[in-house]
Assembly symmetry: C6
Homo-oligomer: 79 residues x 6
Amino acid sequence: MITIDYLDSLFCKTPAEGRMLAFTMARKTIAAIQSDPEVRKELRPHYAKDTAQLIASSQVVAIEFQTIAMANNYWRDEK
Amino acid sequence: MITIDYLDSLFCKTPAEGRMLAFTMARKTIAAIQSDPEVRKELRPHYAKDTAQLIASSQVVAIEFQTIAMANNYWRDEK
Amino acid sequence: MITIDYLDSLFCKTPAEGRMLAFTMARKTIAAIQSDPEVRKELRPHYAKDTAQLIASSQVVAIEFQTIAMANNYWRDEK
Amino acid sequence: MITIDYLDSLFCKTPAEGRMLAFTMARKTIAAIQSDPEVRKELRPHYAKDTAQLIASSQVVAIEFQTIAMANNYWRDEK
Amino acid sequence: MITIDYLDSLFCKTPAEGRMLAFTMARKTIAAIQSDPEVRKELRPHYAKDTAQLIASSQVVAIEFQTIAMANNYWRDEK
Amino acid sequence: MITIDYLDSLFCKTPAEGRMLAFTMARKTIAAIQSDPEVRKELRPHYAKDTAQLIASSQVVAIEFQTIAMANNYWRDEK
């Protein structure tokens, strides 16, 4: 069973805050699929030194951020 | 023959509920392509310990969620 | 020469029907590129037991579905 | 030097015609990058029997089609 | 330091011109990350004969083109 | 803990400036996941000579740029 406790809202005050949420969403999704924290700890060194996986991770963050930016109307009202 | 019994609607009360649906859609798609539950059970340990596949899975969830978030107008009315 | 006989319209009565179309589109695209049904039959066991390929397939379904959901205005009128 | 002789317009009468254009765009892009037809002929058997590459190809078609479908307003006026 | 000298505007007179810009953007991004022209020359034969990489390249062109097509409102005014 | 100090705003005066921001976002995401600058320095030669990874990197830049271009309404007002 997956619990989503990090997504009360897609609205963020600033682009930087929105970017933080994108990181959180990407990270929590991995944690939901591989729910054992011990296993995740073991896995981390592998991908953090594998550039292909770092690039793939950054793509996930880019996609999540696109959704968040749309939701916040690109923070146009802050302009 | 594929049966879709998890998608009566794209509308979800909250972003967290929307995220749950994204997970369900991603998981059920795999199950539709590899319909043998025994085979899926055997396969699971492989990808749950392979960071490249965990990242790829999280990308699928991100894309499904983008669609769901659009459908729900990013839960703007909840703001 | 490719024949497209499964795409009279992008309009679907329900999200579930839209999801079915996404599966069809993904499957028929493969069949158009590898048009020999005998070869496809041989290939199927390979990818159906390869989790990386199952995940990649589910991403294609997610993208096709996003297009279909947009076309149907996310079935908002059904709400 | 790349010549684009297949893209006078993104407008297509039907979704099926739009799908055909998506295939053309995907195929012509490959041909533009690997412009030697002899090399392409040699390469084709490799990817047409490699399911991972068939899936990757179908994803490119899905993305091109999404653009074409948007351009044609999802053929809503045909409804 | 990256110099962007190919992107004065996203506006293009025709879809074909837009497609050309998509190729340029994809190519120039690679050149910005691997800025040594000698190294790029050495690398080119590798990916131009690797179908998986040709497909991946064509996906980047498809994504860049989607942005350009949106910017040009799909060249609807040319219809 | 991730610090986002490069994203005060998604608004950029020109497409070229927007492209620069897309590069920055892609690069900073990698740096946030692999936060050790020494490790990143060691990793760089690997991916900068691996065409598959150069292509994957350019895809991330393309996705980030799509978001930035949307935010800036494709710099239409500059036309």
